[in-house]
Structures are given as structure tokens and as C-alpha cells.
């Protein structure tokens, strides 16, 4: 009996040992498994949930398309979603969870620069490549000392780039030299754009005749506009948000300032035409990254595919999410492994990658060099005027 017991216990022990070994083996197997996990941390609830959901929809479309073509490195891509509730503190938690528990190989998201900034130190410490499709703040990919963050990327153009694009449009296409600037002195966004615009225009031989400022929430701009009108500018650059800009355009036309008004993506809202009135918007242009009227075949193909998948029109965020997904897939393919450092290195070397908006190449600061669109507001309806590549 005793012998039997001994044998039985030995057998049991062997079985336990074997199963533990098997378990270990199983885990190793999973690491080399047939899936590649990609974390998607987004604003899925809270006040900017619209942005987060749109970007996620675009990114998922990119991953689904890749899976339909056989995935990456012969493996299927699995997207692990996580909600940051539109709060930077939650964003840190959400990214930590994706990195440490779900063991994702790359992170896509979040939408807003504030939430991205909260997650960036976590991905950097864990050496996980991180792409924020729509974070426009210049400080996201470059730290305070001007050093590039090796694991941080974006898929949209940064704020100052828009100023450059508009100045190029003003001097090359509108052929204006004397331009006035009316900027929002309570917004860094506006001040940054105005500065880059001025530098670019002056380099091109132009001249800023007068620089006036307003504060957000101002209602009456006639005094500043009267002053601007007296300097006889050929165009006025108004980097700002649609709320003030709509009133500025309306009042400028009322005092007979009929020169072209130039702007930035803060203008993008149907409210602009509502408040300013259709007639006032003649000769008004702003910079955007996306227009459904873009005849570029890659844009049209994206719009068509998105509509088929989600039964609605894509917006700029969906496109940025899609581009972000493509960048990740391409980098993993070129890296040939799921090692974070290798992927990040490949990502930094992204060159002429075909994305929904044309071709994407990263500059030394991990900002994409892409073409931008000039949108005309003639008749109150946004329409594509010109595509500018710098």
C-alpha cells in the first residue's frame, strides 16, 4: 500500500511538475503567438469623446485592412481598447494598463495633447512606441530641452506648420506682399501661428504692415479693424478660433475691409458661416489637413472604404487615426520584430509611406511632413482651393 502511495504521489508530483512546465511553455508560446497586440487608449467617454471615437474608428480600419491582407509578420493584429474618460490622469492609468498588463507592442492614441503628455513618460520608460494621431502641440514629440522623445510620434501636422503653409499660399498664390495680422493674444496657438506666418512671409519678401491683438470672448473688433484698414493691407491673417473669427470677418466686411482673410484650422466649423454670413466669406481661406473634395485617389479611396465600413462620412480625426494605424503597421513590418526599440527606430525612418492623405515622411522631430490643403469659404461653403506641399 505504502509503495502504491509513494508511486501515486510521485506520479502526482510529476504531473504537477509537468503541468507547470507545460504552463510555462504555454506562456512562452503565447509571447510568440500568432497575434500582435496593439493598445488603443482613447477618449471614448467624456467631453472630447467625439474626437477619440473618430480616431479609433480610423485606426481600427487600418488594422482590419492589414488583417484582411494576412496581418503583420504573419500574425493577426489584435486591438486592445482602453478608455481614458477624456482626463489626463485617467490617460496615464489607461496607458499603464495597456503596457504592463496587456503587454501591447505599440500604443495608438490618445486624441488630445494633454492626455498624450500624461501617457508619454510611461511608454518611454517601457520602451513602447507610441503614436498620437492628432496631438498638435509641438512639445509632444520633443522634450523641454529640445531633445526628441525616441518613442513618441504623431500623425498630424503641428501648429506652426500651418502658419508656414498659409504664408506660402499668400505670397505664391495670392501674390500679396503687405499683410496685416490680427491675433488672439490670450492663446498660445494663435501667437505661435502668427510668429511663424510672419517669419515665413518676410523670408518670401513680404511685409507685415500692422499687428493687432484681441482677446478670446471679445465681441467688438471694429476699432482694431478700422486701424488695420487704414494701413491698406492686401490681406489679413487671423489665426484664431471660429467664435471670434466669424465676428471679425463680419465686422471687417461691414467697415468695408474687403481684402482676403487668411486663417487656420481653428476656423473649421459650420458656425463660422452662420455667424459671419455667406456674403462676408468671399476671399476667405484657411488651412486644413482633410477635405472630402480632395481628388487625390488615396483620399477618395479612404473616404469610400470608410463609408462602406461605418456608413458615415469620415472626418479629419478618422483620417488621422487611419494614418496613425498605417504608420504602426508599416514600422512593425520594416522592423521585422515586435521589439519596441526596433519598431520605434523603424518608425522614425518612415519615408514616403502611402497614407490616406498622400505620402508621409517623418522629420527629425518625429513630425510628419505632409501636404496641407487650403480651403476656400466662398459662398459660405468650404471647398478645396489648393494643395500645398512644403
Amino acid at each position: 500500500m505504502r509503495k502504491w502511495k509513494k508511486i501515486a504521489s510521485a506520479a502526482l508530483a510529476a504531473m504537477v511538475f509537468a503541468s507547470v512546465m507545460a504552463g510555462c511553455g504555454g506562456k512562452k508560446e503565447e509571447a510568440k503567438s500568432d497575434t500582435v497586440k496593439i493598445g488603443a487608449s482613447f477618449e471614448l467617454t467624456g467631453n472630447v469623446a467625439n474626437y477619440g471615437k473618430a480616431i479609433l474608428s480610423g485606426a481600427k480600419m487600418a488594422f482590419d485592412e492589414a488583417n484582411a491582407k494576412g496581418g503583420v509578420l504573419g500574425k493577426k493584429i489584435v486591438v486592445v481598447e482602453s478608455d481614458n474618460k477624456s482626463e489626463p490622469s485617467e490617460s496615464g492609468n489607461s496607458i499603464t494598463k495597456l503596457v504592463t498588463q496587456d503587454k501591447v507592442v505599440a500604443i495608438v492614441g490618445p486624441a488630445t495633447s494633454g492626455c498624450v503628455a500624461a501617457g508619454a513618460p510611461i511608454t518611454e520608460a517601457n520602451k513602447i512606441p507610441h503614436i498620437a494621431p492628432s496631438a498638435t502641440a509641438p512639445g509632444i514629440t520633443v522634450d523641454n530641452n529640445g531633445k526628441v522623445r525616441p518613442f513618441m510620434f504623431r500623425a498630424c501636422f503641428i501648429d506652426p506648420f500651418q502658419g508656414q503653409v498659409m504664408a506660402t499660399f499668400a505670397s505664391n498664390s495670392l501674390k500679396v506682399k503687405n499683410v496685416a495680422i490680427l491675433l488672439d493674444s490670450s492663446s498660445d496657438y494663435s501667437k505661435g501661428l502668427a510668429q511663424v506666418f510672419q517669419e515665413t512671409l518676410e523670408k518670401a519678401g513680404g511685409n507685415i504692415v500692422v499687428k493687432e491683438a484681441f482677446l478670446s470672448k471679445d465681441l467688438d473688433f471694429k476699432a482694431s479693424l478700422t486701424k488695420i484698414k487704414a494701413t491698406n493691407p492686401e490681406a489679413v491673417y487671423v489665426p484664431g478660433y471660429y467664435e471670434e473669427v466669424s465676428k471679425i470677418i463680419k465686422q471687417a466686411r461691414e467697415i468695408g475691409l474687403d481684402v482676403p482673410m487668411l486663417g487656420c484650422d481653428g476656423w473649421e466649423s459650420p458656425k463660422l458661416a452662420e455667424i459671419a454670413g455667406k456674403d462676408a466669406l468671399k476671399n476667405c481661406y484657411y488651412v486644413s489637413a482633410f477635405s472630402a473634395q480632395d481628388t487625390d485617389p488615396s483620399v477618395q479611396a479612404f473616404i469610400k472604404a470608410y463609408k462602406e465600413k461605418y456608413q458615415k462620412e469620415p472626418d479629419i480625426f478618422a483620417m488621422q487615426g487611419y494614418n496613425g494605424g498605417l504608420v504602426v503597421i508599416d514600422a512593425i513590418k520594416r522592423a521585422g520584430s515586435t521589439d519596441g526599440t526596433a519598431i520605434a527606430k523603424a518608425m522614425a525612418e518612415t519615408k514616403d509611406l502611402p497614407v490616406a492623405s498622400g505620402k508621409l515622411t517623418y522629420d527629425a522631430n518625429h513630425n510628419p511632413i505632409m501636404s496641407a490643403l487650403i480651403i476656400s469659404l466662398d459662398g459660405g461653403v468650404p471647398s478645396l482651393k489648393e494643395k500645398i506641399s512644403l
Binding site: E212, L219, D220, A223, K271
Partner: protein, 296 residues
């Protein structure tokens, strides 16, 4: 020189139209201060509520400009009476500072309730009439600027008539002069104060609708800055004095336009609040503080 002069007159037009709005709000400030010595910080928000009443009257009820402004004035008058009844009357004998803090509380209450009710998004005020642009040589003015100025003048004349030539106005002046004596003479002080709030709120609402029509856009926090500016205007003219509020409003509007036009637009608000400091230092009773004794 010619263009400078031309700019000066254009800025004068801009300033007067902006100043008429400050004046309309300042009138309410001044009346309420005159009668219960309360700086009603919620007044700018009554102006905002008036703008929303006007907005709903034109968009939902399809009313024209004049009926909308009347409806909005009536609505705001009721809101003014309710605020006084609920928030200020229980505090009537409390220290002045307590009631001032209550006023700030009411102001926040109105702003954020409206954000809850109508969302913080700005609304587009419908064009109730097509603006005509008038050219006087090189100068430009439009019909909306004239409508604002004329409405402000009409309302001020009407207010002066009510205050100076009606029995109710006499009661208001009496309460303002000496509330206890007025009570002894059989004047129902509570009713007089309610009426003052109603009148002041109605004027602010008219200002709100005019601003909505002029600038085409309204939002729940639109009352903050104009409220403060109108307060400066009321102090400038002499708080508690009706013509002073009108004058203070116009002066403030013109100064702002001139500062923006000839110095820099970034100094504009500094100039407005600098005026407040100078007046408080050198003429605390306001520009009309000595000549006109009648208070409301």
C-alpha cells in the same frame, strides 16, 4: 492728417455704438445701486438671459425684432423680480459685503445654469433685419449701429419719464433718498424695490437682444465682460445717477475705440479699468456726481 481725422471719426462711430450697449447695462446697475446700495453683479447675466429670451422669441416663436425685444424685456423683468425676492430680500438687513457676495453667487448660478440648459456653445442670432450700410464720405456706419443708438436713447428717455414724472417714479426716488422715511410715509418699499429690479433687468435684456442682433452670436458667458465694463461706466458717470450711466457708457465705448485705434488694442481693457481707478481716486462721486442730485 486727412486719413488720421477720417480714422478718428470712424473710431468715434465705432465707440458710440459700443458705448450705447454699455450704457443700457449701466442704467440697470445704477438704478439698483441707487435704491438698495447693492452692486448687482448678476446684472451682466440678466443681460445674457435677455439675449436668450430674444433668441428663443425669434427662432421658436418666429417673432419680429420689436415684439421679441418686448417679450425679452418682460421675461427678464420677471427674472429680475424673482432674483430680488429669493436672493436679495432675505439679506436686506445683512452687512453690505454679505449681499455683495450673494450677488456674485447669483451671477455664477445664472451663468452655469444656462450652460446646463442651453449648452456652452454659442448660438447664432437670426438676422431679424438686413443691415443697410451707410457711407458718409469715407465713413461707414450701418443700420444696426443706428438701431442700437436710437433704442438706447428711447429707453433712456422712457426711463427718465418713469422716474421723474410718474407716481411710481416718485416712490422710487423717495425710497432711494431715505428708505425708512419712505416706509413711514406709507410707501410699500418691497414693491418699489421689485419694480426697480424689473425696470433695470428689462433694460439689460434690451441690451442683450440688441447685442445679439448686432454681433449675431450669443453664449452663456457673454455677460461677464460687458457686465464689468458697464459697472465701470456706471461709476464713471456717477453711480446712482441715470444720465450719468448713459454718459459713462458712451465715454467708455469711445475711449476703448480710440485706445484700440491709436495706441494698441491690447491696452483697451487696461484703459477701461484705468478709468475706474482714476475716477475712484479723483472724483469718487463720478462725472455727474455733483450737479445732479436726483437718485433712483
Amino acid at each position: 492728417m486727412d486719413t488720421l481725422l477720417q480714422q478718428f471719426f470712424q473710431q468715434l462711430i465705432n465707440g458710440i455704438s459700443l458705448g450705447s450697449i454699455y450704457a443700457l447695462i449701466a442704467l440697470g446697475y445704477t438704478m439698483i445701486y441707487g435704491i438698495i446700495k447693492l452692486i448687482n453683479f448678476a446684472h451682466g447675466d440678466i443681460y445674457m438671459i435677455g439675449a436668450y429670451f430674444g433668441f428663443f422669441a425669434t427662432t421658436q416663436l418666429g417673432l419680429g425684432f420689436i415684439p421679441a425685444i418686448i417679450l425679452s424685456m418682460a421675461g427678464a423683468a420677471i427674472v429680475g423680480i424673482i432674483i430680488e425676492r429669493v436672493a436679495y430680500r432675505p439679506m436686506r438687513n445683512a452687512p453690505r459685503i454679505a449681499i455683495l457676495i450673494t450677488a456674485i453667487g447669483v451671477s455664477f448660478f445664472l451663468e452655469y445654469s444656462m450652460i446646463l440648459l442651453v449648452s456652452p456653445q454659442p448660438r447664432t442670432f437670426p438676422a431679424v433685419f438686413t443691415p443697410t450700410v451707410y457711407h458718409f464720405g469715407p465713413l461707414v456706419a450701418n443700420s444696426q449701429q443706428l438701431v442700437i443708438l436710437i433704442s438706447a436713447l428711447i429707453l433712456m428717455v422712457a426711463l427718465s419719464y418713469i422716474v421723474n414724472s410718474t407716481k411710481a417714479g416718485k416712490a422710487m426716488r423717495a425710497v432711494s433718498f431715505d428708505a425708512d422715511a419712505a416706509r413711514l410715509m406709507g410707501i410699500n418699499i418691497d414693491r418699489v424695490i421689485s419694480m426697480t429690479f424689473a425696470l433695470g433687468s428689462a433694460l439689460a435684456a434690451a441690451g442683450g437682444v440688441l447685442v445679439g442682433v448686432y454681433y449675431n452670436s450669443i453664449d452663456p458667458l457673454m455677460g461677464m465682460m460687458p457686465g464689468l465694463k458697464a459697472f465701470v461706466a456706471a461709476v464713471l458717470g456717477g453711480i446712482g445717477i441715470i444720465p450719468g450711466a448713459m454718459m459713462g457708457g458712451i465715454i467708455l465705448g469711445v475711449v476703448e475705440a480710440m485706445v484700440s485705434g491709436f495706441l494698441s488694442s491690447t491696452f483697451r481693457d487696461a484703459a477701461a479699468f484705468g478709468i475706474l481707478i482714476l475716477i475712484l481716486l479723483y472724483k469718487p462721486a463720478g462725472l455727474l456726481g455733483k450737479n445732479v442730485r436726483e437718485k433712483v
